[in-house]
């Protein structure tokens, strides 16, 4: 599995940068195939444990039932380790997708600049100054002869709205990660509290009082962290939408309504 993953990572990384099809379709098809093959190895491991170990009868030729259950437990542990390696391989494959939205954005701006600088009135031929970023075809009146012209910003600029969100998300990923890290941090504190509570009935009164203090302190940390979660989410959402608005200001009103919907949903489904 390791060698298959390593070879695939090299191939996919190269393909991602060389694949010029829309949305890197060739890359995604190959990645899908690689993940399917990885899954087939994991499935074979699962099936092997099921067929060769789990279906064995504990009345078989074992030294003792205890040795049989030890064998079964060891095999399950090995499968668990294999599962962890499989998940690590999946992550390596997924990590080969490294979109460079900043570069794509700059390319869109350059292409747009060229298109808008060449725009002339279809009637009088006079230059028409475009002083804002349009990502869809737009009617613009010639200031000289008042003819209505259709300004086509070009195929690259038409990708701006979709790319804008991806770029905004990429620019604010650290804020999303801070929010998404909260559940695991809460779980960690919860586990600490749980372990301390279990230890309580083995302690004398003096030690127990100290442990109770630690539990109370951890509980405060837990509550504070839990209460900070909505605020961190809002901070991420606002930062992301502010970025998106900077990238494509033409859709600011629509983005802002979407922003509000995301925040409302968070409180509704919290």
């Amino acid at each position: 599995m390791n060698s298959f993953t390593n070879e695939s990572v090299a191939t996919l990384s190269t393909l991602y940068h060389e694949d010029e099809s829309d949305h890197h379709q060739g890359y995604h098809r190959l990645k899908s195939a690689v993940l399917t093959q990885l899954a087939s190895i994991q499935k074979k491991a699962d099936d092997t444990l099921q067929e060769k170990i789990n279906e064995l009868d504990d009345d078989g030729p074992w030294e003792s039932k205890a040795s049989f259950y030890t064998l079964r437990s060891n095999c399950s542990d090995r499968l668990q380790q294999f599962q962890e390696r499989y998940q690590a391989c999946q992550k390596m494959i997924e990590a080969t997708e490294q979109p460079d939205y900043e570069t794509e954005y700059q390319e869109i701006l350059s292409a747009y600049e060229a298109v808008k600088n060449q725009f002339r009135c279809s009637q009088c031929g006079g230059p028409i100054v475009i002083n804002q970023l349009y990502f869809t075809s737009t009617y613009i009146t010639c200031p000289a002869c008042q003819t209505q012209n259709t300004f086509n910003p070009g195929s690259r600029a038409k990708q701006l709205e979709g790319l804008g969100r991806s770029l905004a998300e990429q620019r604010t990923a650290h804020l999303r990660q801070a929010y998404e890290a909260i559940p695991s941090q809460l779980q960690k504190i919860y586990n600490q509290i749980h372990a301390l509570r279990l230890s309580l009935h083995q302690q004398n009164k003096t030690v127990a009082a100290d442990t109770e203090n630690q539990i109370a302190q951890l509980q405060r940390e837990y509550d504070q962290l839990n209460e900070s979660s909505p605020g961190l989410y809002e901070k991420y959402v606002h930062a992301m939408f502010d970025e998106w608005n900077k990238i494509n200001p033409a859709m600011q009103a629509e983005h802002d309504r979407f922003r509000q919907r995301m925040i409302d949903d968070m409180y509704k489904y919290k």
Partner: protein
């Protein structure tokens, strides 16, 4: 119309937008679609961007649900129904079967999933082997989705589970065929 998000955008209703999207995915050119609709491409482009944003801002999902419903009714759109891509006789027959035989629909859905899993372009594979383009396939898929939603609403979960299982079974069968065509799975050479 009680939901303001369902109001037309520059005269382009949600039904218009969904039908145009369906016809586009079937391979019909946007210029021909705009001509049939009687609108300029510039109007369509802006309407398209706004319909996407309305779906994003609609927390009730009503716009998205209606879009799906209308997408499946593109063939009845008064201005677009006559715009058709050329289909082979076999493609026509298969499309008819797809719309009336749920087992056939579930089989092709499973096959398409398996094709993607084995690195093929599933939509192209369906077109090459059954003569059904992506837009037509998705229109039929929307209709079967409505059938399934109606089943679920009536509490008929058994039927939904039955067809989900059938599709999964077919995906595995086609997966085996694709694997065989590619010389087998990597796991074939692995022994535990």
């Amino acid at each position: 119309m009680s939901n303001p998000l369902l109001e037309p955008v520059h005269g382009v209703s949600l039904y218009d937008y969904a039908a145009i999207t369906a016809k586009l995915s079937a391979g019909i050119d946007i210029i021909d679609l705009c001509k049939a609709m009687g609108i300029e491409p510039a109007v369509y482009e802006e309407a398209s961007a706004i319909w996407v944003s309305r779906m994003q801002e609609d927390g009730t999902f009503e716009v998205t649900m209606k879009f799906g419903e209308y997408f499946g009714e593109a063939e009845n759109h008064p201005k677009l129904k006559n715009l058709q891509v050329a289909r082979s006789a076999e493609g026509e027959a298969n499309l008819e079967k797809l719309a009336t035989d749920r087992y056939f629909y579930e089989e092709l859905s499973g096959a398409r999933t398996a094709a993607y899993q084995y690195g093929l372009d599933g939509a192209q594979w369906i077109l090459d082997n059954f003569g059904i383009n992506l837009g037509d396939f998705q229109s039929v898929a929307m209709k079967w989705m409505e059938v399934q939603n109606a089943e679920m609403a009536k509490g008929n979960h058994e039927s939904t589970m039955h067809f989900a299982h059938y599709q999964q079974q077919k995906a595995e069968e086609y997966g085996q065929k694709f694997a065989a065509a590619q010389g087998g799975n990597v796991a074939d050479d692995v022994e535990f």
